[in-house]
C-alpha cells in the first residue's frame, strides 16, 4: 500500500516545513475522512454544516496542530485526523446549538438581500465532495442501507483503518465478535451490491 508507506515520508517532509507535502498527505485521506464525517454528523447537523466545511475545518486544525502529531504506525495519521474531525464536529454542534444562525451566516445563502448567494443545500443532498463522484455516492448509499452496527464495523475497520483490537475496543466487543461483525457486514454489503449492479 503505497498510500501508507509514502505517508511516512510525507510526514517527515511536513515536519521539515514542506507545506505542499501537507496538502498531498491530506489529499490521500480526504475521501476516507469525508465518508467518516458524513456518517458521524447527526442528520440535523448535516443541514447546517456540510461535510466539506467540517473537512476544511479539520484540515486547518490538522495543519495548525501538526506539530503535536507523532507518527507511530501507518494508520496513526488517519486516526489522528478522525479525532480532529470529531472535535471539529463537536465544536460546530456546540456553536450551532448556542447561537441561532445569525444574519452573517445567513449571508451564505440566497435571499432577497443576498441574491448572489448560493441556494441553501437540501439536508438530503450529499455534500459537494461526496456528490461529485458517482462511485463515492454509490458507496454512501450502500453504507447507508446497512444496519447501524454493520456500518460501524466497516467504517471503523475499512474507512478509518483501525486494527481489529482497536476496533474491538471502540465497539466494546471481543476481538472475535468484532471480526464476526465485520464479516457479516461485508457479506451484507456484498449482497447489496449484487441486485443493484
Amino acid at each position: 500500500m503505497d498510500v501508507v508507506t509514502s505517508s511516512h515520508d510525507l510526514i517527515e517532509r511536513i515536519k521539515a516545513g514542506d507545506q505542499e507535502a501537507f496538502a498531498a498527505l491530506f489529499n490521500k485521506y480526504r475521501r476516507r475522512l469525508a465518508v467518516l464525517i458524513h456518517f458521524r454528523l447527526s442528520p440535523e447537523l448535516r443541514s447546517f454544516a456540510e461535510v466539506d466545511d467540517i473537512l476544511q475545518e479539520a484540515w486547518l486544525r490538522a495543519f495548525r496542530d501538526f506539530a503535536q502529531f507523532t507518527y507511530r504506525s501507518p494508520g496513526s495519521f488517519m486516526s489522528w485526523l478522525a479525532r480532529i474531525a470529531d472535535h471539529a464536529m463537536a465544536d460546530v454542534a456546540r456553536s450551532q446549538g448556542r447561537q441561532k444562525r445569525h444574519a452573517v451566516e445567513m449571508l451564505r445563502f440566497r435571499s432577497a438581500s443576498n441574491p448572489a448567494g448560493p441556494e441553501p443545500l437540501d439536508s438530503k443532498t450529499p455534500s459537494r465532495l461526496l456528490a461529485q463522484e458517482e462511485s463515492l455516492r454509490r458507496l454512501l448509499d450502500k453504507l447507508n442501507a446497512l444496519p447501524e452496527d454493520y456500518r460501524q464495523a466497516i467504517l471503523l475497520m475499512k474507512v478509518e483503518g483501525l486494527s481489529t483490537p482497536e476496533a474491538a475496543e471502540r465497539l466494546g466487543k471481543s476481538k472475535e465478535a468484532t471480526a464476526l461483525l465485520l464479516h457479516r457486514a461485508v457479506k451484507r454489503f456484498r449482497a447489496l451490491e449484487e441486485p443493484s449492479g
Binding site: 500500500m1 466539506d52 495543519f63 495548525r64 496542530d65 504506525s73 452573517v104 458507496l139
Partner: protein, 806 residues
Amino acid sequence: MAEDSGQKRQETEEGGGREQLLADAVADYLDRQARGEAPSIESFCRTHGSLAQDLKPLLEALEVIEVTLRPEPPVVPGPHRDSQLPEFLSGHKILSEIGSGGMGCVYLAVDERLGRKVAIKVLSPCFRDNPLLRERFMQEARAMAKLRHPNIAHIYSLGPPDEAPHFVMEYLEGVPLTEAARPLTLRQKAELMHKVVLAVEFLHQHQVIHRDLKPGNILVGPELEPKVLDFGLALQTGEHATRLSSPGDVVGTPNYFSPEQAGGSSPLDVRSDVFSLGAIFYELLTGEVPFRGETFPALIQRICQDDPVLPRRLDPAIPGDLQNICLKALEKNPAERYSSVREMASDLERFLAEEPVLAVPTSYARLMAGKIDQHLRELEGWKQDHIVSEQEFDAFRRLYDRLVDREDAWIMAVRRLTLSQVTLYFGAWILVLGAALVMLFNYPHLSGTPAVLVVSAAAASTAWVGVRSWQREQRRIAIAYLLAFCLLLPVALLVGMDRIGLLTGLTRNDQTLEFFARFESFKRTTNAQLWWSVLLSLPVYFWLRRFTRASVFSLVEAVMAAVLSVVSLLRMGMLGWLDSDPGKVYFELIPFAALFFLVGMLIERFRYPADSRYFYSVAVVATFISLSGVALFHEPYADWLKRVAPRTRGQLEYLFIINAGVYLLLQFLCERLPLAQMRAVAKTFRFVIPGHVLTSLLLLGLAASDLWEKSPSSAALRHEARFFEIVLPLAASLFVFGSVPKQLKNYLATGLLFLAIGIVRLEEDLFKQRATWPLGLLVAGLLLMLAAANYSPLRMAVSRAIRRRP
C-alpha cells in the same frame, strides 16, 4: 424431530466455527492492510485453503470500498502548469498573464473596440470541471459587477457561458498598498487607510465579506487612490481549501488572517475583515507584518495567541492614537474589536480631525499594566545600584503616571453617571439618613423594639441584596448596597444597645463629657455605646474587603477607624479638655496618628499594599492637625520652649520651624522604608517643609523687628532683626534651587513667594529709598537670565579656564 433439530444445531455450530474462521481471515486481511503490508487477494486466499472460495468475494467487496476511497489523482492547478494562454476571452485579445491567485489567474488583455487595457480573471482550469465552483465563481462575479465604488475595482462584463469562466475588470496600474505607502507621511498613511476602510465598509453594506484583505489585494494608483480587488471571491468557496491544496500557490501565507479565520473555529463576520484591516494598517505604519511565522502552523499560532509588538516600539514617531486604532482592530477576541468597519473609519476620521480617538485596545492596557510595573521594578533595582538617578526614576514614573492617567480619564469619560446610578446612591443615602434619625431622635410611636426591628431589617436587607448582587456579578449595585450596610451596621448596633440598655455608663461619670448630652433634642446615646458600635463594625468592614476585594471597603475601614479614634478621645474626656486645655486634645491625638501609620504599614506590608493609602491619609492629616495644634495651644510645650530658648518670640514663631524639622525627619524615615505607598507619604511631608520653614523665619523676623522698634538703641536687637531680614530671602533662594534635584515644584513656588516677601522687607529697612536696590535687582536678574540661556557655553568656558590655571 429431535434428531432433526440436533442436526441443525450441529450445522450452525459447524457453520459458526467456519464463520468465525472466515471472519478472522477477513480481519487479518484488513489488519495486514492497516499495517501497510498490502497483500494481494489472490495470494492471501491461497494461504487459507478451504476458506478461499468464500473468502475471495468478501475481499473483493472490500476492495471496491478501497478503490472508491483511494485519493483522487493529484490535480495540478495554477497557470504555471497551464502555460498556454488563450488567445481571446470575451472578444478581448489576451496579452500576458499578470498574476495568479487561489481561484485562478489574471490576464492582461486589450479591449480593441474601446482601445483600453482590461484585466481578465479566469477560473483556474482545475476548478472548471466542478460545476458547483464554476457556478459560484460566476455568481460572485455577477454580484461584484453590481457594486460601484471609486475605491473598488470595477467589473465590466462577465464571460459568455461557452468560454472558460472569467470576467473582465478594469485594469489597474498601481502598486500594492504597503509599497505605495512607504514614502508617505503618517497623516497620508492614515488618509490612505481611511479610504481603504471606507471601501471595505461599502462592501459590507452590500453583504460582501472580503475575507482576503491584504496589501496585494489593494492597489494604489498615482493619485493615492486605493482600489480594493478580489473581494467576495473568498466568501463561501472554501478558499482555504483551494488555496492550501494548490501546491506552489503564491497566496499561501495568511499573514492577514484573523484568529477566527486561521483557527476556523467560528463563522466569519465583518469583524474578521476588521482584523485584516488592522493587520494591513499595522504594516502600513510600521513597515512590518504584525505576525510572522517560520511555518504555516507557527504563523497561525502567533495570530491566535501572541500580541503584536507595539507599533510605537518599532517607530516612536507613530502617534499613540494611530497605534490604538491599529491595536483595537487587531484584538484577538472579535467582541473587543471595532464591531464594524464604520467604527474604525470614524476613529480614523477623528484622528485626521485631530480629535482624540475612542479606541482603547485591551491588549495595550494589558501590556501597559504588565510592563509598566515590570519596568518600574527594574528601574528600582537600577536606582538602588545608583545607575539610574532618583530624578530619572521619577521622570519615568511620571511618564507612566501620565499614561495611566489618560486611561483613567478615558474610563471616567465613558463611565459618566447615569440617572439610575445617581438614583442608586441617592436611595442608599436616604436609607442611611432614615436609620440615623431613628437612632438619634426620640419617636413616641417608633421606639424600643419596633425601632430595633426597623433598623435591623434595613441593615440586613441591604447586606443580603448586596452579597447576592455581588455573587451575580452586579458589582456596582452590590457596592452601593454594601456601602449602605456599612453605615447602617453601627446605627443598628446603637439602636439595639439603646433598647437593651447596654453600656449606659457615663464617661468619668460626668454628664458634660458625653457628646450627645450636649445636644438637647438627641437621644442619650453614650460615648461608650458609640465606641463599641464602631469597634464591632470594623471586623465586618474587613470581611467585606476580603469578600468583595473592593478597596472602597478599606476606605470605609479607615474612615470608621478615624471616627473610633475621635470617640476614644471623647471617652478619655476630650470635651472637658476642649474647654480647659485645648492643647491636650492635640497632644493626645499624636499616638493615634502614629497608630494609623503603623496600621497602614502593616496593611501595606502584609495584605493590601494599595489600600494602605487610606490609612496613611488619615495618619498624615492627624499628624498635621496634632503637631500644629500642639505647637499652637499646648501650654507645657510652650513653657518648655521658653525655658530652653529664652530668646523665643513666642511659640507660634517656633512652631513652624520645629514642626518643619519633625516633618523632615518623618520624611527621611518614610523614604527609608521599603514600602511604595509610604514613599508617597514622604512626599506629602516634604511638600509642607518649605512653607513651614519660611513662614517661621518670616514670623521670627517680624517679631525681632517689633522688639527692635520698641528699643531702637539696642545693637543686639538691631543685629537680630537684620539677621532675619537677610536670612529669609537667602533661605527662600535656597529652596528655589532646592527644587532642582528632586523636581519639587512646590519648593520653587514657595521659595519664589517668600523671596518676594524678603525683598520687600529688605526694602523697608536696609535699602530704604535706595535706588541701588531695585537697579541691582534688575541687573542681577538680567545677568542670571543671560547666564541661564547660555548655560552650556558658559560651563565649558568656566571648565576650560579652570583647567588652564594649573
